[in-house]
C-alpha cells in the first residue's frame, strides 16, 4: 500500500504537469469560496450594526408617548397632550409584573455654559432608573439618587460630547455648569454610546433629576407632567406582557372606556429592531446560498477535469496496477489530486474573500465582518466539495481493468 507522502508527491506531480488546467480548475473554487466569504461578511456586518444599535438603545425597551390633542377637528399628533405624569411612571413600575424599571423623561434643548465656553444640548430630566432602562453605565463619578429626585437637587450627569466640547476631554466631575443660567454640579459622566439607529449623537446629552427639570428648566403647566416614559421589561420574553400591562394600567389610570381610543401610544422599539435583525439574518443566508452555488459550480469543474484526467492517464493507471497498485492506491491518488485542487483553491479563495470584503468596507463603506467561523466553514466546505466531486472520477479510475488500461492508446 502506498504511503501518504508518496501519494501526495505523485498527485502534486500530476497536477504540475498541466499547470494551466489545474489553475483554471482551481479558479472555480477560488471564486466560489471568495464569494461565500464576502457575502457572509457583508451579512454579518449588517447584523452586527443592528445588534450594536439595539445594545445602544437599551435592551427590552418600551416607549410610552402621550397622545395627540384634537383642536377643532385637527389632530395634533403624538406628544401634544400632557397626558403622562410622574405618577403614571410610578404606577407602571409598581403594578406591572413584567416591568423591571421605568424612567419618566422631560426633555428640552438648553444652552449650557462653563467658563467662557457654551454648547447647546439635549437636557433630559429623568430618574436614576434611566441608567438601567438604557443600559447606560457611568464613566466616572456617581449617579443621582431617588433622594436627589425627591429634593430637586441641582446635580447632573454629562455625556461624552459635552465633556469634549466644554472641558476638552478633562474630567468634569465636581465642576459647576450653568444650564439655562441655573448652576448644576456635575456628579458623573456617562459612558460613550455612539450614534443611535437614526444617526443621532446619543452622547450629546445631560441628565438631571426630573423634578429639577420640571421646576427650574422646563416649567410645565401641569405639575408632574413628563414627555416620555421609558419602560424596561424584565426579559425579551416579558416584552409583550410588559407592553400589555403598561397599556392596561395607563387606560385604567386615564379612565378610558372600553370603546375609546388611547390618549397615549406604547411602542416596542426592541421588537422593531429584532425584526430588522431577523431580516439581516435572512439576507445573510440568502447571499450565502447564492454564493454557494458558485462553489458548487466550481466543484463540478473539478469533477469534469478529473474525469478527463482519468481518461487521459488510463495507460498510466494500467502501468501502476501492473506493478502492484491496488484499487485503494489509485483511488487515493486521484482523491488527493481533487482535494489538493479544492483546498488550495479554498485557501486562495479565503484570501481573496477577506481582501474583497475589506475593500468593500473601505471603498463602498459597507459594514463587513469576517468571522473565524466563516473562514473555517468555507475551508471545510471546499474540502468537502473536493472529496465529493473527486470521488466519482477516483472510483472510476480504481475500477479500470489493468489489461484494458495497459492497451489503451
Amino acid at each position: 500500500m502506498i504511503n501518504l507522502p508518496s501519494a501526495i508527491k505523485v498527485s502534486a506531480r500530476a497536477l504540475s504537469v498541466n499547470k494551466m488546467r489545474s489553475a483554471l480548475t482551481m479558479l472555480g473554487i477560488i471564486i466560489g469560496v471568495a464569494a461565500v466569504i464576502a457575502m457572509l461578511s457583508v451579512g454579518a456586518g449588517a447584523r452586527r450594526q443592528i445588534s450594536e444599535q439595539i445594545a445602544g438603545m437599551g435592551s427590552n425597551l418600551i416607549i410610552v408617548l402621550p397622545g395627540g390633542a384634537t383642536s377643532g377637528g385637527a389632530r395634533m399628533g403624538a406628544g401634544t397632550l400632557p397626558t403622562l405624569s410622574m405618577s403614571d411612571a410610578d404606577a407602571i413600575l409598581k403594578e406591572a409584573g413584567a416591568v423591571e424599571e421605568v424612567a419618566p423623561i422631560l426633555s428640552g434643548i438648553a444652552q449650557v455654559v462653563w467658563g467662557h465656553r457654551n454648547w447647546s444640548t439635549n437636557v433630559l430630566g429623568t430618574t436614576p432608573g434611566i441608567l438601567v432602562v438604557r443600559d447606560w453605565p457611568l464613566e466616572s463619578g456617581r449617579p443621582f439618587t431617588d433622594q436627589d429626585v425627591k429634593t430637586s437637587t441641582k446635580v447632573c450627569l454629562v455625556g461624552k460630547t459635552i465633556v469634549d466640547n466644554l472641558f476638552e476631554g478633562a474630567d468634569p466631575v465636581g465642576q459647576i455648569i450653568r444650564i439655562k443660567n441655573v448652576p448644576f454640579t456635575i456628579i458623573g459622566t456617562l459612558a460613550p454610546k455612539g450614534q443611535s439607529a437614526i444617526g443621532q449623537d446619543q452622547d450629546d446629552t445631560i441628565l438631571v433629576p426630573v423634578t429639577t427639570a420640571q421646576k427650574k428648566l422646563f416649567g410645565t403647566t401641569f405639575p408632574g407632567m413628563v414627555r416620555i416614559i421609558m419602560v424596561k421589561a424584565k426579559s425579551g420574553d416579558d416584552l409583550p406582557a410588559a407592553e400589555k400591562q403598561t397599556n392596561d394600567i395607563l387606560r385604567q389610570r386615564h379612565h378610558i372606556g372600553p370603546k375609546q381610543d388611547n390618549d397615549f401610544t406604547v411602542r416596542n422599539l426592541t421588537q422593531m429592531m429584532q425584526t430588522a435583525e431577523q431580516a439581516a439574518n435572512v439576507m445573510t443566508l440568502l447571499l450565502g446560498a447564492i454564493a454557494s452555488v458558485s462553489l458548487l459550480v466550481g466543484g463540478i469543474g473539478i469533477m469534469n477535469i478529473m474525469l478527463v484526467s482519468v481518461t487521459e492517464r488510463t495507460r498510466e493507471i494500467g502501468i501502476r496496477m501492473a506493478v502492484g497498485a491496488r484499487s485503494w492506491d489509485i483511488r487515493t491518488q486521484f482523491l488527493i489530486e481533487a482535494l489538493t485542487l479544492s483546498l488550495i483553491g479554498g485557501i486562495l479563495g479565503i484570501l481573496i474573500g477577506v481582501g474583497g470584503s475589506t475593500a468593500l468596507s473601505a471603498i463602498a463603506g459597507w459594514p463587513t465582518l469576517v468571522s473565524a467561523l466563516s473562514l473555517i466553514l468555507a475551508f471545510c466546505f471546499s474540502g468537502i466539495v473536493g472529496i465529493f466531486f473527486g470521488f466519482y472520477p477516483a472510483y472510476k479510475a480504481s475500477l479500470l481493468d489493468p489489461i484494458d488500461a495497459l492497451r489503451y492508446e
Binding site: 500500500m1 502506498i2 504511503n3 507522502p5 508518496s6 505523485v10 506531480r13 504537469v17 495507460r315 498510466e316 494500467g318 502501468i319 501502476r320 496496477m321 501492473a322 506493478v323 502492484g324 497498485a325 491496488r326 484499487s327 485503494w328 492506491d329 489493468p402 489489461i403 495497459l406
Partner: protein, 231 residues
C-alpha cells in the same frame, strides 16, 4: 514443487453471444530457473495465457498455483499484491511513466509496497546498475533510446526480487542489434540469478535464446519442447 502449476485452466470470453474459448483446459508446469518462450499465431491464446500468468486476469475454470498458493480465486487487491511481490513485467511498448525519471520509474513497485523513499532510491540505483544504466538515473523516457527504455523496464521488473519475469514481445519494437543485447540481458539474469523468464515472441531467433518453447494454437498447447539454449 514446481514454481508454476497450471491445472486444466480455461478462459471463456462471451463476446456478443457465442462463447469463445481463449484457453481450453490447459495444464502445464514451469520450474524455478526455466527460460520459456511462448509462441503461436495471433488469436492462439498466448496473450490470454500471459495475462493469466501475470495475475492480470483470472481463469474461468481450473487452477493456477504459484509457489504453492492457489491464486485463481484471489480478488483484485490480492492479485495486485502477488504482481507486486512475485512478478516482474516487461512489455513490447516499454510502458514507462512519461515525464518521470528512470530512477522513479524503477522505484514504482516499491512505492506500492510501502518502502520508504530513501530505501527506494538505493534499490532502484542498484537495479539500474544491473541493467547497465547507472549513468542514466535522471533521464526521462523520451531522452532514452528504445533499448535503454526496455532496460529501465527490466530494472523495474527486477526491483522487488521477483522470482518470475514475464515479457510480452520485449524486442518487438527494437532493432536486431538492440534485441540481441536485451536477450543477452535476459539470459544473464536467468543463469546468474536463477530468475524464471517467460516470454512471448513471434520470432524464432528470439525463441532460440530460451531453454523451452511452448507453442499455442486455438487455445491449446500443440507443442512443448526444448529451445535452442540448452547447451
Amino acid at each position: 514443487m514446481p514454481l508454476i502449476e497450471i491445472k486444466e485452466v480455461s478462459k471463456v470470453y462471451s463476446l456478443g453471444g457465442a462463447p469463445l474459448n481463449a484457453l481450453d483446459k490447459i495444464s502445464l508446469e514451469i520450474g524455478r530457473g526455466e527460460f520459456v518462450a511462448i509462441m503461436g499465431p495471433s488469436g492462439s491464446g498466448k496473450s490470454t495465457f500471459m495475462n493469466m500468468l501475470g495475475c492480470l486476469d483470472r481463469p474461468t475454470s481450473g487452477k493456477y498455483i504459484l509457489e504453492g498458493v492457489d491464486v485463481s480465486g484471489l480478488d483484485r487487491d490480492e492479485l495486485a499484491l502477488i504482481r507486486n511481490q512475485k512478478l516482474g513485467f516487461v512489455f513490447q511498448g516499454f510502458n514507462l511513466l512519461s515525464r518521470t525519471s528512470a530512477l522513479e520509474n524503477v522505484e514504482l513497485p516499491l512505492v506500492y509496497s510501502g518502502v520508504p523513499a530513501g530505501q527506494r532510491h538505493e534499490r532502484a540505483r542498484q537495479s539500474l546498475k544491473t541493467v547497465g544504466l547507472e549513468n542514466r538515473l535522471h533521464h526521462h523516457p523520451n531522452q532514452l533510446s528504445g533499448g535503454q527504455q526496455q532496460r529501465v523496464a527490466i530494472a523495474r521488473a527486477l526491483i522487488n526480487d521477483a522470482p518470475i519475469i514475464l515479457a510480452d514481445e520485449p524486442t518487438g519494437n527494437l532493432d536486431s542489434k538492440t534485441s540481441r543485447e536485451i536477450m543477452d540481458l535476459f539470459v544473464r539474469l536467468n543463469t546468474q540469478r536463477e530468475i524464471t523468464i517467460i516470454l512471448v515472441t513471434h520470432e524464432s531467433d528470439i525463441a532460440a535464446y530460451s531453454k523451452r518453447v511452448i507453442r499455442f494454437l486455438d487455445g491449446q498447447i500443440v507443442n512443448d519442447g526444448p529451445g535452442g539454449n540448452n547447451a
